[in-house]
Symmetry: C2
Subunit: 201 residues, 2 copies
Amino acid sequence: MTMSLWSEVRPEAARRLVVAAVESFAKVGFHATTTRDIATAAGMSPAALYVHFPSKSALLFEISRTGHERTLAMVLDVANGDGDPVTKMRALVENFVTWHAREHVTARVVQYELTALPEREYLIIAGLRRRIEQAVRALVTAGSAAGVFEVPDERTAARAVLSLGVDVARWYSERTRKTPRALGREYATLVLGMLGCTDSP
Amino acid sequence: MTMSLWSEVRPEAARRLVVAAVESFAKVGFHATTTRDIATAAGMSPAALYVHFPSKSALLFEISRTGHERTLAMVLDVANGDGDPVTKMRALVENFVTWHAREHVTARVVQYELTALPEREYLIIAGLRRRIEQAVRALVTAGSAAGVFEVPDERTAARAVLSLGVDVARWYSERTRKTPRALGREYATLVLGMLGCTDSP
């Protein structure tokens, strides 16, 4: 497992707790994980866990927030950068898919445990997700306006672009023969086809 | 919730147990569900559950097997039927996506709880999944051979076709404005574009 997303969490004890939580949430789910499970896997007592995180939900929120903020930053970086819609969409899909393959254990928690978040935290995450979706939709709209994309419904097409990337987290594993980056590049080509792009650079 | 897949399970007590299990597995996951939870939701004692299913795993296997067998039957029905690769692919995606939207609660259990199956049962389900993937790959290959599809890698393309449909179960809900069938039709058009099809009927 790579888990490179968490390498800079400090202090070290908090880092170990986050990694242990990600692994257990991804394996058996949030609801079947106890704070004791997490603390034990991180080599601590349950009491020591509460020094860093007030609850199991706080750990899930930290994982979910970090994953979503990182994704949003990547998407906005591409969307606000230079280039035509085709070049931007290619870069966006390549990065999005590479992340979901490379960090597939974290991505499973980020994508599949949303309903386990408490309501207030859920609303914050939902806001981040809306901004990610809006950026992708704006890119589909820009490509349609420029005449390089042709889709039946921009909203559905934008959703399908993200959906295809998200599902990589479900099936990708260390046994997959394709590297995350190679898969990202292939998916970018598939997505441009899906968007009716006949002008692939 | 539709749950129409389970309407014919008999006796009635077994049907109620399967529906209760699907709902709880989909909501909190297999590992966080107890046989007592399932029995209570079905209006029975835990002892009454064991009359119909020897274990919680047996319930999961029944749900998973039924879902996969139904999907395989649909895929083979289309694949072995009449029509050119484009017509067949359109029908396959439309049916696959419609099913994952309409039965999204069941489909979540079928697609996301595989690793909770005991080893022997897992191997049976893995065999069904392989046959589904092979049928889709054969259809991609047939389209490529006929010159109507153009993809960088047939294996990756076939996987992406199924992946796009599977992920519908994650995000589709009763609040989605598009009907399952309308979504299926749009996704069929998106997939044909993804497969480089320029000859869409």
